[in-house]
């Protein structure tokens, strides 16, 4: 895990804007803090991966249920929508007193809750888009409901699900920064450090690495889509 950090109340200080003249990137700072930067980046990757995997684990069954039971659908979509509109810093603060002020659980609860809207919505949209012909054939082949779902419907819904996964992943990478307020946060830690010291470099490094990480993750999912959808000519994880 990451380096020791001051996960103490009071370490979260508001910026006292002082006149500062410093270059956008001080490369000597970067090279002397390489180790810390890399371990924060790794922590960022871990926080993101856990959040997206849990989000997917919750969203797939939830999406299937919402798709199957039309009456429940508005409820499921509505609840995930409410979770999505609550601001990230607020979700953190709402969860903090319940799951511990500086715990990783609090960070993950907030991050996972953000992935749900996009993922559930795209699972439902993907399942709706499955052509009736395919369902008819599956029925004719004597598939049970579960077989039909696993072998026919979910694979055909995959482009939509992957599109949701792209949005969810990129969003989560940005949000992980905010969890720095509760002592987690990967690269977000650099932003808080930079603002406490009125020093541009850590902020720019944190921002640049965060954006780069999102680009890499997005490209990875697109690649995953291309590989897993080879059987479906002309379809990839669509940009959404």
């Amino acid at each position: 895990m990451g380096p020791p950090r001051e996960a103490q109340p009071g370490s979260v200080a508001r910026v006292e804007p002082l006149a500062a003249s410093n270059p956008l990137v001080d490369w000597s700072w970067v090279s002397s803090n390489q180790g810390m930067i890399l371990s924060l980046l790794w922590e960022h990757v871990q926080l993101t991966t856990i959040a997206v995997l849990f989000g997917l684990l919750i969203s797939l069954p939830l999406g299937v249920v919402a798709w199957r039971l039309r009456l429940v659908r508005p409820l499921v979509v509505g609840v995930t929508e409410i979770l999505y509109v609550v601001p990230s810093i607020a979700v953190l603060s709402l969860a903090a007193p319940l799951t511990g002020f500086f715990s990783i659980t609090t960070a993950e609860v907030a991050l996972v809750s953000y992935t749900l809207l996009v993922l559930v919505r795209n699972v439902v949209a993907g399942l709706i888009s499955v052509p009736a012909d395919a369902l008819e054939v599956a029925r004719g082949m004597g598939y049970t409901a579960v077989q039909k779902m696993v072998k026919v419907q979910l694979p055909l819904a995959l482009p939509s699900i992957l599109a949701g996964l792209r949005v969810a992943t990129v969003t989560t990478i940005g949000l992980v920064n905010v969890t720095a307020f509760i002592g987690q946060g990967g690269l977000g830690r650099l932003i808080i450090d930079g603002s406490n010291e009125n020093f541009n470099t850590p902020i720019v490094v944190g921002l640049a690495l965060s954006v780069a990480l999102a680009a890499v993750a997005d490209a990875l999912i697109v690649g995953l889509g291309k590989v897993s959808l080879r059987w479906q000519p002309g379809r990839t994880a669509g940009a959404k």
Partner: protein
């Protein structure tokens, strides 16, 4: 006394609502900074989106900018802007930094939706308008934008909810908005104060979402209203 009732007491105490850092002032500031950003973003986003869809260039940029922008953490942007000497010198530096960051957050969804909406206008409709002798300006104002309006409003709605919720971060750079109590509570390990502030932000975001839901409904042509719910592109 349990936690939630303490939060309730905190929220209903009149003293917490008045004064220069009371909830009322915070609420006004939060709405103010959000409104400035969204109005500016709507003007720029709609103009740029319409322009790009007409030149048939920059389409890739327009469609992908929303997704790419999600990757830029508002948190780093607001801090980075706030500590620049030119901003620090301003009297309301934190407010300006927050407004600029929120503007940057709001433009992409509006731009993407405007571009998509205007591009989606049927070419037959466009030909008919041209055949009636409309100039390009008339075509845009009387045909394309009205037809694209539901999608444009959906984009503004997405942007507005994100902005009104994210403007909370302004408190980190000295703006006394609804983030004030959230950060104050985090500083002092006061869960009740943090929770109360967060609940207000959440409530405001939901209200904004509902207002735009109604607006989206109102600007949707009647026949589309009858045929299904308004879909909001994610």
């Amino acid at each position: 006394m349990n936690f939630l009732s303490k939060v309730g007491d905190f929220l209903t105490s009149g003293a917490n609502w008045s004064g220069p850092d009371g909830f009322l002032t915070q609420l006004v500031t939060q709405v103010e900074v959000s409104a400035i950003a969204i109005v500016a973003a709507a003007l720029v986003g709609v103009a740029l989106g319409t322009f790009l869809s007409h030149t048939r260039r920059g389409g890739f940029l327009a469609v992908n900018s929303a997704n790419a922008a999600r990757a830029i953490p508002s948190f780093s942007l607001v801090v980075l802007i706030a500590i620049q000497p030119a901003i620090v010198r301003l009297q309301q530096g934190g407010f300006v930094a927050t407004a600029i960051t929120m503007f940057a957050l709001a433009v992409p969804p509006i731009l993407t939706n405007t571009y998509t909406g205007v591009r989606g206008v049927d070419d037959d409709v466009r030909s008919a308008a041209m055949g009636m002798g409309m100039t390009t300006a008339q075509l845009v104002r009387r045909v394309e934008l009205p037809l694209a309006l539901p999608l444009v409003v959906a984009g503004v709605r997405t942007a507005a909810v994100e902005v009104v919720a994210t403007a909370t971060l302004g408190a980190y750079v000295g703006v006394i908005d609804l983030g004030f109590d959230i950060f104050a509570g985090l500083d002092t390990n006061n869960g009740v104060e943090t929770f109360a502030g967060a609940a207000l932000v959440a409530a405001l975001a939901l209200v904004v979402d509902l207002v735009f839901l109604v607006a989206a409904w109102a600007v949707t042509p009647r026949n589309i209203q009858r045929h299904g719910p308004i879909l909001r592109p994610v």
